[in-house]
Every structure is written in structure tokens, then in C-alpha cells.
Amino acid sequence: MDDLSVVIAGAAGEGIQVVGEVLAQTVSAHGYAVFAWQEYESRIRGGHSRFALRIGEVPRNAALERADLLLALNPGAAQQYRPLLGDGGLLLSPEGEGEAEGAVAIPFAELAQEAAGKKLYANSVAVGALVAALGMDREVLYRVLERRFREKGEEVSEANRKAAEAGYREATERCGERCPWKLGGAEGRYYLADGHRAVALGAVRAGCRFLSAYPMSPSTSIITFLAKEQERLGVFVEQAEDELAAINMAVGASYAGARSLTATSGGGFALMGEGVSLAGMTETPVVIVLAQRPGPATGLPTRTAQGDLLFAVHAGHGEFPKAVLAPSDPVDAFHQTVRAFDLADRFQVPVVLLTDQFLAESLFSVEDFELGRSEPELHLADPGEIEEYRRYRLTEGGVSPRLYPGQSEHLVGADSDEHDEWGHITEDLEGTAVPMMEKRLSKLAGLRAALRPPEADGVEEAEHVLVGWGSSRGAVREAVELLRAEGVAAGSLHFTDLWPLPEYRFPEGKRYWAVEGNATGQLARLLRSEYAVVFQGRVGRCDGLPLTAETIRRQIDV
């Protein structure tokens, strides 16, 4: 069984996320790899939402466009998403098309009413039907449901089970030959993780103890998760009054000696600009997650994009060093987050982690997080070894020994004004202001050396090289496979370290294609200015949906 695409569609408020997650967990519990992404509108009820699952024996962490099995919770959704169904595809929906070719009607709500006494349980009827249609074991589904609804009490748990059973029975009777799938079980044992949980856990691994943030989709899941797991993971979480407070709190906590994090999205990051600059000037380490969604302004709040790359690179007024990293999947997100904290501490700079709605909210099958690969590195100085403490001591490489207030008798002064080595305001332009500016900027060399060149796949032999960054790694790699299957010599370069750009030489004599989820080609612009690389063309997507191998392939004219 490989590469099966199941799409669940419905309106906001119908609970397709529950159906999708339960199905993803059931598939995963069967030992298959599942990748799930979702799109939904920024509203509480109505509209169109889709939860798409890709099922196979090995993890394929990128979105597919087609659907093999489409379950629509309402007739409108059936109409909207039906074009996704390929040949041999099947539609399960509550009414309308009856037993027409390629469609099976299952009255979810009525069955829920009959079996469990409430239409509310229509979701479980739906997921039962899906499990039957896919030829899976219903007992596994019941276990997943039991675990999910355990907290809500015996009665709710039981009702969900009955509803699922009704859906399962109905679909088994009706599908017959039209359901050729049989997910009997596979060998895999996967975590089902989304990108933002991985970021949150990476922060915890790095020793983060303080998170202040203001809710904004899609960054909110980090705050929610860490707040919920506060007892276990020990991160103090505060919902700030706004993003200005959020970043200033994070900077304050970091100055006080606690590793700290803030998370936001484009509009919030715009408000944080001054604070990013503050971290740069006061040389206070801080990690900022910038979870991208399509902008400008409020944009498409619940969709995905890679449109804030240059914004992140240029954020903050004045000139100061900072780092920008863009993880590609949950495992990478975990390790890059640990690294972001280390870089922030080591160079005493702000570090921006660029995620997006796709990475944040998709579910990825992860074989192993390899936790042992990342150890937190703390870079505080030893107060005992310092005779006279100067927070901004001029040093080779620009990094001064860092202590926190109260750690010892040494006094720690920090200033947003231009300052001397003790942190006191100065207007001594030649003697102090210039050396201080140079000190801060001299960190860039060390920072650059600590960043990694792009990950190369088959570049040496390739004629066409797809260059991407961040969360589109899976889609780009798959596009390369599509090209190779057509006999095109293709390869890829994938950037996760985006600022300062690492030392790298683009091999000559290739055709480079910049692949990115934005409209203006920001990566291309950045790489052109830093490496003088010439691009053959650009692949872009700015409709709020994730980059897919098919979209990329269509835009490359070879």
C-alpha cells in the first residue's frame, strides 16, 4: 500500500479536525506512515475546510493534490472538493448522489442519532466509515477513540464508539467492490508530530524557561502547548498584552538569566521590530518564532506562506547581527530550535526561527527524534573568574562575557542607548560609539562560520537544481523525483540557515530554480545579492496552500 490520499472536507464547526486526527492516529496505529495537512478559513463556523491525509509505508512528508477517497461532511463540501477525485476515486457523503458511480451516501448525522442518541456524534460515524472504506481494523479505531475521549467520561467515550461502529457497519455494507483498499497493517512505529510541538520541545531541551507571547495564528499552538504542559516541561508562560510586551518580556527574562522565547506571526513580528533591535543593541539573547502566513497586514490568517524571509532578515532598525533559521520538518524543527538558543546565547543576538502554518499544523510521521543529537550549550561566564566586570567588554570576535544580575556581586548594566563597556550612555562618537558598533558587527564573522551550507541532493550530477528553503523540503525533493522519473537530471539545494548566509559556492554550469511559497522571489533575491547566483527561473505559490511536487513540476519548463 503506497501513497493513498484521503481528504476529509467540511465546514468550520463540523469538527473535521477531530475526524482527521482520529483517522491519522488510527492509520499510524496500524503501522503506516501518515502525513496530514489542513486548510481552513478564518471563521468559527461555516466555509470550507479540508484535512488531507497521505498514507504509505514510508514517510512522505509533503502534500498531495489529488484525492483517492473523499469524505465530505456536507453536500457543499462534496461539490467543492469533488474535482480532486481521480479515476477510481470514491466519495463518501451524507446525501445527494446516492449510489452513483464513485459515490456512496452515508447519512452521518442520522446514524449518529440512531446509534448514540445525538447528531453531535456524526464525526465518529464518519471516521468509522473511513476506517471501513480503507479496510482497517475497527478495534484499533475504538482504542484511539477511547484514548481521545477518556477525559470526557465513560458515557461520551461509549457514545463515540457506538457511533463509529454504526459508520463502520454502514460503509462495510455499502462500499463493497468500490472500496479496493486494504490497510491491513505495516511494520512502522511512528510519532505523529506537528512542527510547533517540535519547536516547543526543542526550546525545552535548550533550557528555555520563559515564554511570553500574544496569540496570533499560526504561532499560538506553541504557547498553548507549553502552557498545557507547564507542570511537566517547566516553562513559565505568559500571555502578554501585545507583541511589544511579549518581546520586551522575553528580553527582560533573558537579561535576568532565563533562556526565553517569544512566538508570533507577521503582523505581531512587525510590532516586535523595535524589540528585535533592542535585543541586538543590548546584546541580549532571545529566540523569536515567526510563524508565517500570507500577508500583508492581516492577510490570510489560517493559510500558509513563505513570505516573510526578507522581513525577518531585515527586521529591526539600525545595524546589528542576528540569525535567521528556517526548519524543514519536525525533527529538524526540534534540533534547529535547540541550535537557535545556542546561537542566541553564544553570540548574544536575537535569532528568528521561521516556521509557517504548513509546518506548524501538519502532522508528520517521525521515526525518531534523535534527541541525543542536540545538547544545550550554555554560554554564561563564570563570575569567579572576572575581576572587574564590564558587560560590554570589547573583545576579539565581539562577544563579551555575559553574567546576569544577582548571579554574583558583579553589576550587570544593559542599555539601548549607545553605551560604553559598562553599559553607560555615551555620546563619545569616535572613542566609544564606533568601537561598540564594530564590536557588535564583528560577531557576524563568527556567526556566519557557525551556520551551515545548504543541504545538497544530487547537485553534482544535476543539470537542473531546485533551490528551496524551510518547510517545502519534502515537496521540493519530490519534485526532483518527478523530474528524474522523466529522465531530467535534477537535484536540489535546501537552505535552513538563511542569515547570515553561510559560506557556500554554487557549482557552475547548472540551471538553478528558486522554489518558494511567495510571490516576489525573496530567496532568489537574497541568494543573488549574496552569492551572485543566476537563476534560470522561479517557482512560486502565493494562494495560501502549501507547495506540492505537482505545483513545482508544472512551473519548471523542461
Binding site: 511512528y190 517547566g234 537579561y255 553599559g423
Partner: protein
């Protein structure tokens, strides 16, 4: 070393000669000496403005951040390390103008901070514009025909919001102010001390104008009565300027205490990274 010398620095003071800020600084150092604090246990946090320069003139830890943003920085410092005595020094433009939203939310959070507002009713550093507390009708460099909007009543807001220590001082009354500041710093939770600090450069009134109107709260004044306190905060409008502790109530739980006591067990700064097992346990729950 005498107590006041302990907090001396040799930074060049950038205030105008004769500014009441010098008295305020004296009162501040005297309050610190009274509390028998070691400089490394004190952390001053400020934003931008003339008031915000004060941390440079006191020997201690300090964070001189952005205009209006002292409160969020200080709130986090106090939450991360409750062993420090954290004090915010700010101007009324800084605290009630640019930082107005943070002021409101600091009142909600009740962090263990003392906020000392140098209230000169003027944007001084930027040369004389109206501020959130400039009275109606006063002509200022931008409010050319006279201020046309109501001044804020920050202490009234603090009382209404249940701040448990609300006081007003007068910079030239050094001993009285030192006493207020010491009490405020000893009080657990948020303490707000608004200090009348006339601007000798831009204020249309001389300092003597304030001296004629300032009076100390009567001996029989009851600072635990919020209605009385509110009435006192409104006397500004009538040209009477009461100084002293306007309102005081039993301390409330301070921001971050539950987390520190029940989960962290100590200052956040000193905590090692969480054990990998905790992460593994959470990850395990992501296996179906």
C-alpha cells in the same frame, strides 16, 4: 563606605542644573540606604526620557531599554528572579503615554515591582510637548492653542484597579519622598509612586507654584479607604496636590509566584534544562 556612597556612580549626570530630579535621586539613594540593600541585589529598569536616565546614576544592576517598555522588561525580571529588588524609573510620557497599555496590564498582573514615575507633566527630553498628564488648556509646543484633551488620572486608575500601594511624592521634599520610596520597595507586589517633579525648563509654572499647592496628607487620613483615595487623586483638578500614601491594601499574590513555588522551585535563571525524560514522556504521547 557610607550607605549613600554605596550607590554612587561617577557617570556624568545629564539633567539640567537645578532640576528637581537631583532631589529625587537623593531621595532614591537615601531610600536604598535605609533598606540596607546590596547594589548587586538591586535592579533598576527604565525606558527613555530624562527620568529613564536615573539608573546610570545609581550603582546597581540596570536595564535601560526602550521608550515605554520598562514595565514588560521589569515584570519579566521580577518573575525570573524574585531575589532581586526590581524598580522601574520612568517618566509619565514613558509610563502612561508610550507605555500606557503596559501600565494597565502591570496593574492586572501585580508583579513585585516599585514603579517610580517622574511626573513633570511634560515631554521634557523631546523639548516640551504635552504629556498624558498635562492639564487642560496648557499651551505646549505641539498643543499650540492649549491642551484640548483631558489629562489622565494615573493614580486614580491604580486605585480603581486595586493596586495595593499607591502614593504621590514631591521631588523637593527629599526626606518625605525617601520614606515613601522605602515603603514602596518594601511592599510586596506592585507599588506605584507618582512623583511631582516640575520641569524647570519647559513648565510654564515655577517650582514655587507647586510648593504652594502641595500638602501632606492629614494625620487622620485613612489610606485603606479606596473612595477616599480616589477623591484625593482628583484634587489635582482643583489645584491641590496631596502627597503621601494615598492608598494601601493587603498584599495580593504576586505575578509568577505560583509557577515559581509549585513548579520551578526557585528563580528561573538558576534552573538547569529540564530532564530529557520529561521530553521523551511528552513525545511518547504522540505515538498512537
Amino acid at each position: 563606605m557610607s550607605d549613600a556612597e554605596r550607590f554612587q556612580t561617577d557617570a556624568e549626570i545629564q539633567w539640567c542644573p537645578g532640576c528637581p530630579n537631583f532631589s529625587l535621586l537623593k531621595a532614591f539613594r537615601s531610600a536604598l540606604a535605609r533598606l540596607d540593600l546590596a547594589p548587586h541585589r538591586l535592579c533598576l529598569v527604565s525606558g527613555i526620557g530624562q527620568a529613564a536616565k536615573l539608573p546610570h546614576y545609581v550603582r546597581c544592576n540596570f536595564f535601560n531599554g526602550l521608550h515605554g517598555r520598562a514595565l514588560p522588561v521589569a515584570t519579566a525580571v521580577a518573575a525570573a528572579n524574585p531575589e532581586l529588588t526590581t524598580v522601574v524609573v520612568t517618566g509619565e510620557g514613558d509610563c502612561y503615554g508610550e507605555g500606557g497599555n503596559h501600565f494597565l496590564h502591570a496593574l492586572r498582573r501585580n508583579p513585585n515591582l516599585t514603579v517610580v514615575v517622574h511626573d513633570n507633566r511634560i515631554y521634557a527630553l523631546t523639548k516640551g510637548q504635552g504629556s498624558p498628564t498635562t492639564p487642560l488648556g496648557e499651551r505646549r509646543s505641539i498643543q499650540f492653542p492649549g491642551v484640548e484633551v483631558e489629562p489622565l488620572n494615573p493614580l486614580g486608575i491604580a486605585v480603581v484597579q486595586g493596586c495595593t500601594f499607591v502614593a504621590r511624592g514631591f521631588a523637593p521634599e527629599v526626606e518625605h519622598l525617601a520614606d515613601l520610596l522605602a515603603q514602596a520597595m518594601e511592599h510586596p507586589g506592585l507599588s506605584v509612586v507618582d512623583v511631582i517633579q516640575p520641569c524647570i525648563t519647559w513648565d510654564p509654572h515655577p517650582v514655587s507654584w507647586y510648593k504652594e499647592r502641595v500638602y501632606r496628607l492629614e494625620d487622620d487620613y485613612d489610606p485603606t479607604d479606596p473612595q477616599a483615595a480616589l477623591a484625593k487623586t482628583r484634587e489635582w483638578g482643583e489645584g491641590r496636590l496631596p502627597i503621601g500614601v494615598l492608598f494601601r491594601a493587603d498584599p495580593k499574590p504576586v505575578f509568577g509566584r505560583r509557577f515559581r513555588e509549585e513548579i520551578a522551585g526557585g528563580p528561573l535563571a538558576a534552573l538547569p534544562p529540564v530532564a530529557v525524560e520529561a521530553i521523551e514522556e511528552v513525545l511518547e504521547r504522540m505515538r498512537p
